[in-house]
């Protein structure tokens, strides 16, 4: 099956990259690629919600919840990394439930507006609750990640951790998308009224897709907190939320690989301008160009090129004399 093959190839490439990056590059590349894989998790975890037709422009808020929860538990209460990470992810999912339950009944644009406002709410809480989060001074001194009591001190080992997390999460998401559940999500996205009329409890399924995304975004956030070891509230604002959406659109909405491709492609290309306004300018232009000229995203590019070639070949059936 070609679809299955495509996914296996991408996964294989990811794993090979994971093995090679620390060997071939220095700490700088390890750092960059660790962030690329964090973005891959974020992008892929938004997909179920988007598949259900929910435009979630607040994904970074759930990353922030996971990051702060895990960091504070590990730092203040000396909770082991694995448990802190799990708590961060669970709290993100629980908050997802609290926000999702009232707003998922809303039609698309209302939902989008609530999620945008929610990003700001989480940022403000992180900023104002100074006694807990240190507010705008930023939270530092977050312990490094550890596994079964062993602290992962080297950059390379932390990098392997995020690659492992990404592979597991992608496998889970891939499995779900290709199960009956994924089909139900897809049917809701294609026509929620029709799905309802055929017996689908759309509210419950939308909520499930949303919470699942929140859980994995929380996981990515928790890793990020222990990897960067410094948290600053405005980092998880509207811009990052938009970026996660952009990965999905630029990569392509039509296939599971789309958001993964989008996250890798955009994170690597924007690396030279990371942190400057030019990063955002680059992202925005990539987004606008994609929506206007390649609505299916990068994954449809090979097909489009092949089409173009066929069209060219058809237009000039005789080889040119110069050849």
């Amino acid at each position: 099956m070609p679809r299955k093959l495509g996914v296996s190839i991408v996964l294989a490439v990811l794993v090979i990259l994971a093995l090679l990056v620390p060997e071939l590059g220095g700490d700088y590349y390890v750092h960059v690629f660790a962030l690329v894989f964090t973005n891959v998790i974020l992008a892929a975890s938004l997909r179920p919600s988007l598949t259900c037709g929910q435009l979630n422009i607040g994904h970074s808020a759930f990353m922030s919840i996971g990051a702060y929860t895990s960091a504070l538990l590990a730092k203040n209460l000396a909770v082991p990394f694995e448990i802190a990470l799990l708590c961060g992810a669970l709290l993100a999912a629980a908050v997802g439930l609290a926000i999702g339950y009232p707003s998922l009944r809303l039609r698309g644009v209302y939902f989008a507006m609530v999620t945008v406002a929610f990003v700001e709410v989480i940022r403000l809480i992180a900023q104002l609750w100074v006694s807990l989060t240190r507010g705008m001074s930023g939270l530092s001194g977050i312990p490094k990640p550890s596994l079964l009591g062993m602290t992962l001190t080297t950059r390379a080992s932390q990098y392997y951790l995020v690659v492992g997390l990404a592979v597991v999460i992608l496998l889970v998401l891939w499995k779900l998308e290709h199960s009956r559940l994924g089909l139900i999500w897809k049917s809701i996205g294609m026509g929620d009224n029709l799905a309802q009329s055929l017996g689908v409890n759309i509210a419950r399924h939308k909520l499930l897709a949303f919470m699942l995304g929140c859980f994995f975004a929380g996981t990515a956030g928790a890793f990020y907190a222990h990897f960067i070891r410094f948290l600053f509230p405005p980092e998880f604002g509207f811009l990052m939320a938009t970026n996660i959406l952009v990965y999905n659109y630029v990569g392509g909405r039509g296939h599971f690989v789309g958001p993964i491709l989008g996250a890798i492609f955009l994170s690597l290309l924007s690396e030279p301008f990371r942190g400057s306004p030019y990063e955002t300018i680059f992202f925005s232009i990539a987004m606008l160009l994609t929506i206007l000229f390649l609505p299916g995203g990068l994954i449809t590019l090979p097909g489009k090129l092949a089409e173009l070639k066929r069209w060219r070949a058809a237009a000039s059936p005789t080889p040119s004399p110069a050849a």
Partner: protein, 287 residues
């Protein structure tokens, strides 16, 4: 809170509410016709304020001229956005919303290299204070109220008394039927973009002498406008006006008592409670 402080924050609240109303009206108008939410509305507000900075403060033109220029320039920009982004995008509302998001982040980010990293300030246009009920209120803030009211009335007259306004109402009712009756839907949508952008520019231009200017300054007013239209109901003009005044007052009074950021948190909590307990109440069941 003393009585004087209450009066002061109430008047400031009405003036703030007027700004929110101008923002929310454009959003509601565009939603009513095209079922889109213009995420770029906050960025347009920001640009409207920067036009004042360059034409009034740097260029030395009269404030009124700069104000009109701001509305016209951004109105034209709105029309161009309709032509180059809204119109070509096929495949539903969602890609359009994402494109508008991208436009927003582009305008904000481009603001830093273009306008510079430092905050800008516009000197007062109407300096001084005026005594109302024994309380001094800045004239700058007072002036916002009649200007915003005039714009709202102008919009009302335009929509209800002109042929183009009738065409807009026709599209709002039924796009296909309007097109069949010879309404040029593209041109009228472009007009709605132009009006929405011009109103957002006017809000920014009115606030320019009061707040500091930076590329992110539009984000808060945009979020406030979102809260207003969720409160008042998308597409509803009276809802936007009432919601705008309510939020302006709450904002100003709560902000005086607790600070601006807790006031925002509170309004969001209020929205979630509203959705939770009256999900169909304020704007009816989606049908």
């Amino acid at each position: 809170m003393t009585f004087a402080l209450f009066v002061q924050s109430a008047i400031v609240g009405v003036s703030l509410g007027s700004i929110y109303i101008l923002m929310a009206l454009g959003l509601t108008l565009m939603f009513g016709m095209m079922h889109i939410i213009n995420f770029a509305h906050g960025a347009v507000y920001m640009l409207g304020a920067f036009v004042i900075y360059y034409i009034f403060f740097q260029g030395g033109a009269p404030y009124f001229a700069a104000f009109v220029a701001s509305m016209i320039l951004l109105g034209v920009f709105g029309y161009l956005v309709e032509r180059s982004i809204y119109r070509p995008i096929k495949g539903g509302i969602e890609p359009t919303l994402v494109a508008l998001l991208a436009l927003t982040t582009f305008l904000q980010a481009a603001g830093y290299p273009v306008f510079g990293q430092l905050d800008k300030h516009v000197p007062p246009v109407f300096p001084g204070t005026r005594n109302i009920l024994g309380v001094g209120i800045s004239v700058e803030r007072l002036m916002i109220i009649p200007v915003a009211a005039a714009l709202v009335i102008a919009l009302y007259l335009f929509i209800n008394k002109t042929r183009l306004g009738a065409a807009m109402r026709a599209i709002e009712q039924d796009k296909e039927a309007a097109a069949l009756q010879g309404v040029n839907v593209h041109v009228v949508n472009g007009l709605a973009f132009a009006i929405g952008f011009a109103l957002a520019a006017a809000s920014g231009a009115l606030m320019a002498p009061i707040f500091k200017l930076d590329p992110m300054m539009g984000e808060q007013p945009l979020l406030k406008a979102f809260i207003i239209i969720i409160l008042g109901g998308l597409g509803s003009v009276p809802g936007a006006i009432l919601g705008g005044l309510m939020l302006g007052l709450i904002d100003s009074i709560v902000a005086t008592a607790l600070g601006a950021e807790p006031a925002f948190l509170l309004s969001f909590v209020f929205i979630i409670m509203l959705l939770l307990f009256r999900p169909t109440g304020l704007f009816g069941y989606a049908s």
